[in-house]
């Protein structure tokens, strides 16, 4: 499936900010077997004094912007054309929890794909007893890792209410889970916490959803802004599989990935630290349109 993606983010800094530095993770990359980036362009207004695009630890494009003169606002405009490939249908070859833990321990790697990064607590996903109990209750003996991930994704979708006003970008998963509502970020963090409590390596994916559903299908939640979902390590045979707990589905051709990390902190679309603290307002719009002539 081929998509045209348009995103616009505007940050207004109440007080003009000298020496503002901003770090952006918005540019999608090629992912073998998953997606191909046909074109991409990130336009920054006003023109930054410095711009530097590097790949971060997890292989995401990290764009650093610096402004030497005080700026009152910054506008980021992304245009990208990305082809998303159909995920292969495969047999469930994932091990059960015991097998998975042995397989994970056997991976002697520190590279970005290694499950080792995704088992322990991460800055924004601390272990939580409630979430852990919820996950343990779902994981019946004999279930495969894939089955558990699907069950947890479905259970969170059933249990939680999608509510854009209930949480903000700093809400910890424990709080969102206790109130049983939140947005894609909360759904994803809770699912990650649940999976890690079971010893299943799990990470965070930021990206886009197609704005309008295919004919006859319901519109997916979270399509008006950047979306987030979860990826799960299902053993050395199956590898990483992506689930979208907000929509209780596997991330397939409707999901365009931008960045991977342990939690939101690793992939935040815009991070900025300003010397002058003032009220910061942000506007954000996304349009993801499938192109008729796919390919």
């Amino acid at each position: 499936m081929l998509y045209d993606i348009r995103l616009s983010i505007r940050h207004d800094y109440g007080v003009p900010s000298p020496n503002a530095r901003t770090q952006v993770r918005l540019l999608p990359t090629d992912l073998p077997g998953r997606q191909i980036v046909r074109s991409r362009l990130l336009r920054v207004t006003p023109r930054p004094s410095e711009r530097d695009d590097v790949l971060d630890f997890f292989g995401n494009v990290m764009t650093t912007l610096a402004f030497h003169r005080p700026i009152a606002s910054v506008e980021l405009g992304l245009r990208a054309r990305v082809e998303v490939l159909e995920p292969p249908d495969s047999l469930d070859l994932s091990p059960d929890l015991k097998g998975l833990s042995a397989e994970a321990a056997a991976v002697r790697l520190l590279s970005a794909e290694s499950p080792a990064h995704f088992i322990g607590a991460s800055p924004r996903v601390a272990p939580d007893t409630e979430i852990s109990a919820f996950a343990h209750a779902l994981a019946a003996p004999g279930m495969t890792t894939t089955q558990i991930a699907e069950a947890l994704s479905q259970a969170l979708h059933d249990e939680m209410q999608f509510d854009p006003g209930a949480t903000d970008v700093h809400t910890p998963p424990s709080v969102a889970f206790a109130a049983r509502h939140g947005v894609c970020q909360d759904f994803s963090h809770i699912m990650i916490a649940g999976l890690r409590a079971l010893g299943i390596p799990a990470g965070y994916v930021s990206g886009f959803l197609r704005t309008l559903p295919p004919p006859g299908k319901p519109r997916l939640a979270g399509a008006d802004a950047m979306h987030a979902w979860v990826r799960v390590w299902c053993g050395s045979e199956v590898g990483w599989v992506e689930y979208d707990p907000t929509n209780a589905c596997r991330a397939g051709t409707d999901h365009i990935a931008v960045a991977y990390g342990r939690d939101y902190g690793d992939v935040a679309p815009v991070k900025g630290v300003l010397r002058t603290a003032g009220p910061q307002v942000s506007e954000h719009s996304v349009d993801v349109e499938p192109l008729e002539a796919s390919g």
Partner: protein, 807 residues
Amino acid sequence: MTAPAKRIPEALSTLLAGYNVPAQVADELLDADGAIRPVWLPFIEQFAKLGSEQIAAHFARGDQYLRDAGVFYRQYSAEPLQERAWPLSHVPVILHEQEWTTICDGLAQRAELLERVIADLYSEGRLVRDGHLPASLVARNTEWHRPLVGVPPVSGHYLHFLAFEIGRSPDGSWVVLGDRAQAPSGAGFALENRMATVRMYPDKFSRAHVHRLAGFFRAFRDAMDLLPGAEGRRTAILSPGPGNDTYFEHAYIARYLGLVLLEGEDLIVQNGEVFVRTVSGPQPVGVIWRRLDAAYADSLELNESSKIGTPGLVHALRHSSVSLVNALGSGIVETRAFMAFLPKIAEVVLGTPLKLPNVATWWCGQPSERAYVQSNADALYIGEALSRSLPFDIGAGAAIAGAFQGDQTHGRAEDAPDAQLRDWIDANGPDLVGQEAVTLSTTPAWIDGQLKPRPMTIRVFAARTPEGWTFLPGGYARIGKGGDATALSMQRGGSVADVWVMGDAPVGDRTMFESGSFRREDTGMLPSRAADNLLWLGRYVERCEGAIRLLRAYHLRLAETGDANDARLQSIARHFERISFDVSAPVETLLEPSLQATRLCAGRVRDRFSVDGWAALSDLLTNLSESAGTLAPGDDSARALGVLLRKITGFNGLVHENMHRTSGWRFLTFGRALERADGASMVLRSFAGEDRTQGLLDVALEYADSRITHQRRYRVDPTHDTVVDLIALDPDNPRAIRFQVTAMRRIAETLPFARRDGRVSAVLEALMPLETSLAVAHPEDVIPARLSEVRRALATVARRLAAAYLD
């Protein structure tokens, strides 16, 4: 083992009567046979000749030095900003240079090993791939900073300055208890300990044989100057700030080594380079001795919540523009669980076993090690695998000798303790390590008038130089509080001692400043943040002084009339209301916030003014809090305010007279002038305004400390015009607005960029018309509206000064 009396010379037997070394413990003073080690003899013989009063007098000299030097340390846990006296144990630990050399030889090997480990963890990750280090101990480690992976240090090395905590086992051999690589502290304190012991023990204690410490620091400083990028750029110490428990040491070392002391806020990153913001614009920084934990160093790429870092620092490292001592991420080699793997890694990486073993450690993430820890829990400390604390700083989530610490419980309460322990280890294996419960050696400490054996560990400092690792010959010993020689007694409440490394012959005398012109001072360079704090310090002190003077005027009149409804008193009260003061509140409640603000400001620039100045300020606050609740309004308060006034003028004098950094002094003085001019404008507005009663004019004169001058000069009772002439327009009265505006203008002319392209700076642009208007004004023109204009002009000056030099 008790010291058998026959092995102790007669002359020493009294001194050592209470010196009973516990069984199965090595001792520094006595060898295995209970005889005094030769290296201690000269010292102990001299010591034995002293009577108890002489001993007290010797110790007092050291304590006096520490007090005078302002040595203290701050405790995080206690009250905010609480400072404690330095807990010096007055008896040094003495080691022979031969033994010391062996220790350093082992530690040099270990330093090399740590460098190789960290270099691998931030590049290829071979140690993990080859199975020498479990991936989870790295991937779950909060000191493994992913943004630094693949960012080689520009200096070619990750580690430049290390510390090792070592202890002596019962068999006499040395063991490494912990590695310190993140931001090793203590070297400055070691220096201070030495300064104190030098004062306690004159040369006859054979101090001539004790290795000096200065050469080490000089070598380290020289090594930093030789790092790539150092030339033509600043070398700085980066501190977390005055809230940190070792801030004193940062300030001390900065002064000692002639480095500039910076906080994260002082630095900016532009085009991949690091600059320090100074009053004369950004200046490039080439080497940073980092005393700030890596996680806090860059809120953009590391811990987002950090407010004490420099956004973009990691970006600058990626552009290889600055050398960090030590590299960000070095803290990972402090990880407790690494101790379990380092002995093997040494053989693999260096091809040779460790010369100096580390404390035996078992990681419970491996089945056989876990089983070992479970069956030997009685002889082990079991604690967090990823902790970077020293073995004896084991936290609450730990078990010692088979018993849980604190009131924590694990597993089912009805189970036997050993079953609980077993379950706990089974459930949390990868998070736990077991470490041998080390028994330390003892060393003499002077307790209740006697020498007693107390357990000790030594912190050894190492610096990388172009010739290899060099070691501080001596160091910093921690002395346990109780007689129990297990490491447990080191946990809290101990003291510290100097470590003497003795040669057989007198050693050379080296100081920090020998061999030509080593001392360099950055007189031309003042970080903007320091300038800002100095400016505010100047303002706060002046503001306090003004408030005290006016409060005193109030209470003097209250004492006189006994009537708070007196018109003059009401006028003063209204004046205070304008600056949000309730004059009826107790004096100490009114003044405390301003004085605390002064102290906070002073604390931030403490490295820039004298210890005496600091002591005077602390004294002032103590004085104030002691008088809390005891001061009745009127005479009582007036008298107390008189005392405070003398003290604050004393502090003011000390600060202004003893500040040697020229540009720093300028900002301090500018702040004082600004506040004084503003205060005088306000006071004239209140007390020489429409209601020109003489009683109020007197208040204004008292505020400006100009009563006597007025008498001498005008020889009439004060009128509006004489008072205004003296306090607003007089060019020679240091209390007058005009005098202070001129002072500011003169300072502004000496600041950077005062004149550029034929134009004066924005600050001068605001000051010059103000100065002129005051010079040509007639006293009768100076009406309240005019004074408000003056205040607005002063506010513009302050704003422009900040914009030009301080932002």
